[in-house]
Symmetry: C2
Subunit: 214 residues, 2 copies
Protein backbone atom coordinates (compact mmCIF):
# COMPACT_ATOMS: atom_id res chain seq x y z
CA UNK A 1 0.00 0.00 0.00
CA UNK A 2 1.34 3.40 -1.00
CA UNK A 3 1.85 5.50 2.15
CA UNK A 4 1.36 9.22 2.65
CA UNK A 5 4.55 10.47 4.29
CA UNK A 6 4.64 13.99 5.69
CA UNK A 7 7.84 15.84 6.55
CA UNK A 8 8.28 19.37 7.76
CA UNK A 9 10.58 21.56 9.83
CA UNK A 10 9.02 23.19 12.89
CA UNK A 11 10.26 25.64 15.49
CA UNK A 12 10.21 24.78 19.19
CA UNK A 13 7.15 27.01 19.50
CA UNK A 14 5.31 25.13 16.78
CA UNK A 15 5.65 27.34 13.70
CA UNK A 16 6.47 26.10 10.19
CA UNK A 17 6.68 29.58 8.68
CA UNK A 18 7.33 33.00 10.16
CA UNK A 19 5.08 36.07 9.96
CA UNK A 20 4.73 38.32 6.88
CA UNK A 21 5.19 35.69 4.19
CA UNK A 22 5.59 37.22 0.74
CA UNK A 23 7.03 36.49 -2.69
CA UNK A 24 10.31 38.02 -1.58
CA UNK A 25 10.25 36.18 1.76
CA UNK A 26 8.27 32.98 1.22
CA UNK A 27 9.18 31.47 4.59
CA UNK A 28 8.23 34.61 6.53
CA UNK A 29 10.40 36.53 8.97
CA UNK A 30 12.84 34.12 10.59
CA UNK A 31 11.43 31.15 8.68
CA UNK A 32 14.75 30.49 6.99
CA UNK A 33 16.14 29.42 10.37
CA UNK A 34 13.95 26.32 10.16
CA UNK A 35 15.85 25.04 7.14
CA UNK A 36 19.50 25.88 7.87
CA UNK A 37 20.11 22.32 9.10
CA UNK A 38 18.95 20.99 5.70
CA UNK A 39 20.55 23.53 3.40
CA UNK A 40 24.03 22.70 4.63
CA UNK A 41 23.67 18.97 3.90
CA UNK A 42 25.32 17.41 0.83
CA UNK A 43 22.27 15.20 0.28
CA UNK A 44 20.04 18.28 0.05
CA UNK A 45 22.40 20.22 -2.20
CA UNK A 46 22.50 17.28 -4.59
CA UNK A 47 18.75 17.72 -5.19
CA UNK A 48 19.55 21.18 -6.50
CA UNK A 49 22.52 19.94 -8.52
CA UNK A 50 25.04 21.43 -6.07
CA UNK A 51 28.27 19.80 -4.96
CA UNK A 52 29.76 19.85 -1.48
CA UNK A 53 28.00 20.12 1.84
CA UNK A 54 27.98 18.27 5.13
CA UNK A 55 27.37 14.67 6.01
CA UNK A 56 26.10 14.35 9.57
CA UNK A 57 23.44 12.69 11.77
CA UNK A 58 20.70 14.21 9.61
CA UNK A 59 21.97 12.67 6.38
CA UNK A 60 20.35 9.23 6.77
CA UNK A 61 17.12 10.90 7.89
CA UNK A 62 16.95 12.93 4.69
CA UNK A 63 17.98 9.93 2.59
CA UNK A 64 15.20 7.89 4.18
CA UNK A 65 12.69 10.65 3.52
CA UNK A 66 13.59 10.67 -0.18
CA UNK A 67 13.62 6.90 -0.66
CA UNK A 68 10.69 5.16 -2.36
CA UNK A 69 8.84 8.42 -3.08
CA UNK A 70 6.98 8.63 -6.37
CA UNK A 71 4.98 11.84 -6.05
CA UNK A 72 4.46 14.93 -3.90
CA UNK A 73 1.30 16.67 -2.69
CA UNK A 74 1.48 20.31 -1.60
CA UNK A 75 -0.81 23.22 -0.85
CA UNK A 76 -1.23 26.27 -3.04
CA UNK A 77 0.62 28.50 -0.57
CA UNK A 78 3.66 26.26 -0.72
CA UNK A 79 3.60 26.32 -4.52
CA UNK A 80 3.37 30.01 -3.89
CA UNK A 81 3.29 33.24 -5.74
CA UNK A 82 -0.02 34.86 -4.87
CA UNK A 83 -3.55 34.01 -3.72
CA UNK A 84 -6.57 33.84 -6.04
CA UNK A 85 -6.82 32.98 -9.76
CA UNK A 86 -3.69 32.31 -11.79
CA UNK A 87 -2.31 35.06 -14.00
CA UNK A 88 -3.19 33.98 -17.55
CA UNK A 89 -0.40 36.04 -19.14
CA UNK A 90 2.43 35.11 -16.82
CA UNK A 91 1.39 32.24 -14.57
CA UNK A 92 3.43 31.55 -11.45
CA UNK A 93 5.70 28.54 -11.94
CA UNK A 94 6.77 27.84 -8.37
CA UNK A 95 9.71 28.97 -6.27
CA UNK A 96 12.16 26.47 -7.66
CA UNK A 97 13.17 27.71 -11.13
CA UNK A 98 13.28 25.64 -14.30
CA UNK A 99 14.65 22.49 -12.62
CA UNK A 100 12.75 21.96 -9.35
CA UNK A 101 14.19 19.53 -6.78
CA UNK A 102 11.24 17.11 -6.91
CA UNK A 103 11.99 15.13 -10.11
CA UNK A 104 8.57 13.44 -10.01
CA UNK A 105 4.88 14.41 -10.33
CA UNK A 106 3.69 17.10 -7.89
CA UNK A 107 0.00 17.66 -7.13
CA UNK A 108 -0.93 21.16 -5.97
CA UNK A 109 -4.14 21.74 -4.00
CA UNK A 110 -5.88 24.85 -5.32
CA UNK A 111 -9.31 26.38 -5.82
CA UNK A 112 -8.29 27.62 -9.28
CA UNK A 113 -8.11 25.24 -12.23
CA UNK A 114 -5.04 25.29 -14.45
CA UNK A 115 -3.36 23.10 -17.05
CA UNK A 116 -0.45 20.94 -15.84
CA UNK A 117 2.98 22.56 -15.85
CA UNK A 118 5.90 20.46 -17.03
CA UNK A 119 9.37 21.62 -16.02
CA UNK A 120 12.85 20.15 -16.36
CA UNK A 121 14.20 17.16 -14.48
CA UNK A 122 10.99 15.16 -14.39
CA UNK A 123 8.91 17.56 -12.32
CA UNK A 124 5.32 18.09 -13.48
CA UNK A 125 2.91 20.21 -11.44
CA UNK A 126 -0.73 19.11 -11.68
CA UNK A 127 -3.36 21.40 -10.19
CA UNK A 128 -6.14 19.65 -8.27
CA UNK A 129 -9.33 21.56 -7.48
CA UNK A 130 -11.46 18.85 -5.89
CA UNK A 131 -9.84 18.48 -2.50
CA UNK A 132 -7.33 16.52 -0.45
CA UNK A 133 -8.73 13.04 -1.09
CA UNK A 134 -8.70 13.54 -4.87
CA UNK A 135 -5.17 14.95 -4.82
CA UNK A 136 -3.92 12.01 -2.76
CA UNK A 137 -5.64 9.52 -5.05
CA UNK A 138 -4.12 11.11 -8.16
CA UNK A 139 -0.69 11.18 -6.53
CA UNK A 140 -0.94 7.50 -5.56
CA UNK A 141 -1.86 6.55 -9.11
CA UNK A 142 1.18 8.45 -10.38
CA UNK A 143 3.67 6.71 -8.09
CA UNK A 144 3.58 3.22 -9.56
CA UNK A 145 3.27 1.75 -6.08
CA UNK A 146 5.75 4.02 -4.35
CA UNK A 147 4.85 6.39 -1.51
CA UNK A 148 3.60 9.98 -1.64
CA UNK A 149 5.26 12.90 0.18
CA UNK A 150 3.09 15.56 1.76
CA UNK A 151 5.35 18.59 1.59
CA UNK A 152 3.16 21.19 3.33
CA UNK A 153 2.52 24.02 3.93
CA UNK A 154 0.66 24.36 7.16
CA UNK A 155 -2.88 24.52 5.77
CA UNK A 156 -2.53 21.47 3.52
CA UNK A 157 -0.85 19.54 6.33
CA UNK A 158 -3.63 20.46 8.75
CA UNK A 159 -6.26 19.11 6.37
CA UNK A 160 -4.49 15.78 5.87
CA UNK A 161 -3.64 15.42 9.57
CA UNK A 162 -7.19 16.20 10.72
CA UNK A 163 -8.54 13.65 8.24
CA UNK A 164 -6.19 10.97 9.59
CA UNK A 165 -4.69 10.37 6.15
CA UNK A 166 -1.03 10.70 7.14
CA UNK A 167 0.78 7.35 7.54
CA UNK A 168 4.18 8.72 8.56
CA UNK A 169 5.25 12.11 9.88
CA UNK A 170 8.79 13.42 10.27
CA UNK A 171 8.98 16.56 12.41
CA UNK A 172 12.36 18.25 12.13
CA UNK A 173 12.24 20.20 15.38
CA UNK A 174 14.52 23.22 15.24
CA UNK A 175 15.78 24.83 18.47
CA UNK A 176 14.55 28.32 17.72
CA UNK A 177 11.48 30.46 18.38
CA UNK A 178 9.61 32.30 15.63
CA UNK A 179 7.05 33.90 17.95
CA UNK A 180 4.37 34.14 15.28
CA UNK A 181 3.54 32.89 11.80
CA UNK A 182 1.91 29.63 10.67
CA UNK A 183 1.40 27.01 13.38
CA UNK A 184 1.60 23.44 12.10
CA UNK A 185 -1.05 21.96 14.36
CA UNK A 186 -3.48 24.92 14.44
CA UNK A 187 -7.01 23.54 14.29
CA UNK A 188 -5.90 19.91 13.97
CA UNK A 189 -7.44 19.01 17.33
CA UNK A 190 -6.13 16.57 19.90
CA UNK A 191 -6.00 13.39 17.81
CA UNK A 192 -2.89 12.03 16.13
CA UNK A 193 -4.96 9.25 14.51
CA UNK A 194 -2.61 6.49 15.59
CA UNK A 195 0.66 8.23 14.72
CA UNK A 196 3.11 7.07 17.41
CA UNK A 197 6.64 8.29 18.02
CA UNK A 198 8.79 5.52 16.55
CA UNK A 199 12.28 7.06 16.21
CA UNK A 200 14.26 10.07 17.40
CA UNK A 201 17.53 11.27 15.86
CA UNK A 202 19.44 14.01 17.64
CA UNK A 203 21.64 16.34 15.63
CA UNK A 204 23.31 19.52 16.80
CA UNK A 205 20.75 21.96 15.42
CA UNK A 206 17.70 19.76 14.82
CA UNK A 207 15.86 16.84 16.39
CA UNK A 208 14.21 14.44 13.96
CA UNK A 209 11.01 12.96 15.39
CA UNK A 210 9.47 10.20 13.30
CA UNK A 211 5.85 9.25 13.86
CA UNK A 212 4.17 6.30 12.18
CA UNK A 213 1.01 4.24 12.34
CA UNK A 214 1.92 0.86 13.80
CA UNK B 1 26.49 31.42 40.40
CA UNK B 2 23.11 29.93 41.23
CA UNK B 3 21.31 29.05 38.00
CA UNK B 4 17.63 29.27 37.19
CA UNK B 5 16.70 25.89 35.70
CA UNK B 6 13.32 25.48 34.07
CA UNK B 7 11.73 22.13 33.34
CA UNK B 8 8.33 21.37 31.91
CA UNK B 9 6.44 18.78 29.88
CA UNK B 10 4.97 20.01 26.59
CA UNK B 11 2.82 18.41 23.91
CA UNK B 12 3.97 18.24 20.30
CA UNK B 13 1.59 21.12 19.58
CA UNK B 14 3.15 23.27 22.29
CA UNK B 15 0.72 23.04 25.20
CA UNK B 16 1.73 22.56 28.83
CA UNK B 17 -1.85 22.24 30.11
CA UNK B 18 -5.10 21.28 28.43
CA UNK B 19 -8.29 23.34 28.21
CA UNK B 20 -10.80 23.78 31.06
CA UNK B 21 -8.37 23.71 33.97
CA UNK B 22 -10.15 23.46 37.33
CA UNK B 23 -9.61 22.33 40.92
CA UNK B 24 -10.88 18.89 39.97
CA UNK B 25 -8.78 18.81 36.78
CA UNK B 26 -5.74 21.03 37.40
CA UNK B 27 -3.92 19.94 34.23
CA UNK B 28 -6.95 20.56 31.99
CA UNK B 29 -8.54 18.08 29.59
CA UNK B 30 -5.88 15.69 28.38
CA UNK B 31 -3.15 17.42 30.38
CA UNK B 32 -2.43 14.28 32.37
CA UNK B 33 -1.03 12.70 29.21
CA UNK B 34 1.92 15.11 29.47
CA UNK B 35 3.07 13.51 32.72
CA UNK B 36 2.50 9.79 32.23
CA UNK B 37 6.17 9.30 31.32
CA UNK B 38 7.16 10.79 34.69
CA UNK B 39 4.54 9.22 36.93
CA UNK B 40 5.65 5.72 36.06
CA UNK B 41 9.28 6.35 37.02
CA UNK B 42 10.68 5.04 40.31
CA UNK B 43 12.66 8.25 40.78
CA UNK B 44 9.46 10.29 40.60
CA UNK B 45 7.48 7.97 42.88
CA UNK B 46 10.22 8.24 45.49
CA UNK B 47 9.54 11.99 45.76
CA UNK B 48 6.02 11.08 46.87
CA UNK B 49 7.25 8.35 49.22
CA UNK B 50 6.10 5.58 46.86
CA UNK B 51 7.99 2.37 46.12
CA UNK B 52 8.30 0.62 42.77
CA UNK B 53 8.19 2.10 39.31
CA UNK B 54 10.32 2.00 36.20
CA UNK B 55 13.95 2.77 35.54
CA UNK B 56 14.48 3.79 31.91
CA UNK B 57 16.16 6.39 29.65
CA UNK B 58 14.31 9.17 31.45
CA UNK B 59 15.66 8.24 34.88
CA UNK B 60 19.03 10.03 34.62
CA UNK B 61 17.28 13.06 33.13
CA UNK B 62 14.99 13.35 36.15
CA UNK B 63 17.85 12.67 38.55
CA UNK B 64 19.86 15.44 36.90
CA UNK B 65 16.91 17.83 37.13
CA UNK B 66 16.66 17.21 40.88
CA UNK B 67 20.37 17.45 41.64
CA UNK B 68 21.80 20.61 43.23
CA UNK B 69 18.39 22.31 43.54
CA UNK B 70 17.82 24.40 46.65
CA UNK B 71 14.54 26.17 45.93
CA UNK B 72 11.61 26.32 43.52
CA UNK B 73 9.79 29.27 41.94
CA UNK B 74 6.28 28.78 40.59
CA UNK B 75 3.30 30.80 39.45
CA UNK B 76 0.07 31.23 41.35
CA UNK B 77 -1.84 29.05 38.89
CA UNK B 78 0.54 26.17 39.45
CA UNK B 79 0.19 26.52 43.21
CA UNK B 80 -3.46 26.48 42.29
CA UNK B 81 -6.85 26.50 43.92
CA UNK B 82 -8.56 29.62 42.66
CA UNK B 83 -7.85 33.09 41.27
CA UNK B 84 -8.03 36.25 43.35
CA UNK B 85 -7.48 36.86 47.08
CA UNK B 86 -6.79 33.93 49.38
CA UNK B 87 -9.65 32.57 51.50
CA UNK B 88 -8.87 33.81 55.02
CA UNK B 89 -10.88 31.03 56.69
CA UNK B 90 -9.62 28.09 54.69
CA UNK B 91 -6.64 29.12 52.57
CA UNK B 92 -5.58 26.89 49.69
CA UNK B 93 -2.51 24.86 50.62
CA UNK B 94 -1.45 23.56 47.20
CA UNK B 95 -2.25 20.41 45.26
CA UNK B 96 0.26 18.22 47.01
CA UNK B 97 -1.20 17.39 50.47
CA UNK B 98 0.62 17.68 53.79
CA UNK B 99 3.97 16.38 52.45
CA UNK B 100 4.66 18.05 49.09
CA UNK B 101 7.34 16.58 46.81
CA UNK B 102 9.58 19.68 46.90
CA UNK B 103 11.34 19.29 50.28
CA UNK B 104 12.82 22.77 50.03
CA UNK B 105 11.64 26.42 49.99
CA UNK B 106 9.09 27.25 47.27
CA UNK B 107 8.38 30.82 46.16
CA UNK B 108 4.93 31.46 44.69
CA UNK B 109 4.34 34.46 42.41
CA UNK B 110 1.03 36.10 43.35
CA UNK B 111 -0.71 39.45 43.45
CA UNK B 112 -2.17 38.62 46.87
CA UNK B 113 -0.02 38.80 49.99
CA UNK B 114 -0.07 35.93 52.45
CA UNK B 115 1.98 34.58 55.33
CA UNK B 116 4.39 31.73 54.52
CA UNK B 117 2.97 28.23 54.70
CA UNK B 118 5.14 25.54 56.27
CA UNK B 119 4.25 21.93 55.46
CA UNK B 120 5.90 18.57 56.20
CA UNK B 121 9.10 17.27 54.67
CA UNK B 122 10.92 20.60 54.46
CA UNK B 123 8.56 22.36 52.04
CA UNK B 124 7.75 25.99 52.87
CA UNK B 125 5.66 28.10 50.49
CA UNK B 126 6.55 31.81 50.52
CA UNK B 127 4.23 34.17 48.63
CA UNK B 128 5.97 36.91 46.64
CA UNK B 129 3.96 39.90 45.46
CA UNK B 130 6.67 42.07 43.91
CA UNK B 131 7.39 40.21 40.68
CA UNK B 132 9.65 37.70 39.03
CA UNK B 133 12.99 39.34 39.81
CA UNK B 134 12.17 39.57 43.52
CA UNK B 135 10.97 35.96 43.64
CA UNK B 136 14.13 34.75 41.92
CA UNK B 137 16.31 36.79 44.25
CA UNK B 138 14.57 35.41 47.34
CA UNK B 139 14.83 31.89 45.98
CA UNK B 140 18.55 32.28 45.28
CA UNK B 141 19.16 33.52 48.81
CA UNK B 142 17.33 30.47 50.17
CA UNK B 143 19.40 27.93 48.25
CA UNK B 144 22.74 28.34 49.94
CA UNK B 145 24.46 28.50 46.58
CA UNK B 146 22.49 25.75 44.87
CA UNK B 147 20.32 26.28 41.80
CA UNK B 148 16.66 27.33 41.58
CA UNK B 149 13.99 25.36 39.68
CA UNK B 150 11.34 27.22 37.74
CA UNK B 151 8.43 24.79 37.88
CA UNK B 152 5.84 26.64 35.78
CA UNK B 153 3.07 27.09 34.92
CA UNK B 154 2.89 28.68 31.53
CA UNK B 155 2.41 32.29 32.60
CA UNK B 156 5.28 32.31 35.09
CA UNK B 157 7.53 30.55 32.58
CA UNK B 158 6.64 33.07 29.87
CA UNK B 159 7.66 35.95 32.13
CA UNK B 160 11.04 34.43 33.02
CA UNK B 161 11.74 33.35 29.43
CA UNK B 162 10.85 36.73 27.96
CA UNK B 163 13.12 38.43 30.50
CA UNK B 164 16.02 36.16 29.54
CA UNK B 165 16.44 34.95 33.13
CA UNK B 166 16.39 31.21 32.42
CA UNK B 167 19.86 29.60 32.42
CA UNK B 168 18.77 26.04 31.56
CA UNK B 169 15.55 24.68 30.09
CA UNK B 170 14.48 21.04 29.90
CA UNK B 171 11.55 20.49 27.55
CA UNK B 172 10.04 17.05 27.97
CA UNK B 173 8.34 16.80 24.59
CA UNK B 174 5.45 14.35 24.68
CA UNK B 175 4.17 12.75 21.44
CA UNK B 176 0.57 13.81 21.84
CA UNK B 177 -1.67 16.68 20.78
CA UNK B 178 -3.83 18.63 23.23
CA UNK B 179 -5.38 20.89 20.59
CA UNK B 180 -5.99 23.75 23.01
CA UNK B 181 -5.08 24.93 26.50
CA UNK B 182 -2.02 26.83 27.74
CA UNK B 183 0.78 27.29 25.22
CA UNK B 184 4.25 27.42 26.76
CA UNK B 185 5.75 29.99 24.41
CA UNK B 186 2.69 32.21 23.91
CA UNK B 187 3.84 35.82 23.90
CA UNK B 188 7.49 34.98 24.56
CA UNK B 189 8.56 36.32 21.16
CA UNK B 190 11.29 34.96 18.91
CA UNK B 191 14.27 35.20 21.23
CA UNK B 192 15.67 32.30 23.25
CA UNK B 193 18.21 34.67 24.88
CA UNK B 194 21.17 32.41 24.20
CA UNK B 195 19.54 29.12 25.19
CA UNK B 196 21.05 26.53 22.80
CA UNK B 197 20.09 22.91 22.41
CA UNK B 198 22.83 21.05 24.26
CA UNK B 199 21.48 17.51 24.77
CA UNK B 200 18.68 15.26 23.50
CA UNK B 201 17.56 12.06 25.21
CA UNK B 202 15.07 9.84 23.39
CA UNK B 203 12.72 7.65 25.40
CA UNK B 204 9.73 5.70 24.12
CA UNK B 205 7.07 8.21 25.12
CA UNK B 206 9.03 11.42 25.62
CA UNK B 207 11.97 13.32 24.13
CA UNK B 208 14.07 15.30 26.59
CA UNK B 209 15.47 18.47 25.02
CA UNK B 210 17.97 20.32 27.18
CA UNK B 211 18.76 23.95 26.40
CA UNK B 212 21.46 25.95 28.16
CA UNK B 213 23.34 29.20 27.91
CA UNK B 214 26.86 28.42 26.80
Amino acid sequence: MSKLRFKISMSLDGFVAGPSQSIKNPLGIGGGRLHEWAFKLAVFGALLGLEGGEVNESTPVVEESLANIGATVMGRNMFGGHPGPWDAQNPWKGWWGVNPPFHHPVFVLTHHAREPLQLDGGTTFTFVTDGIHAALEQARQATGGKDVTLAGGANAAQQYLAAGLVDEMEINLVPTLLGSGERLFEGVGDNLHGLDLVRTVAAAKVTHLKYAKR
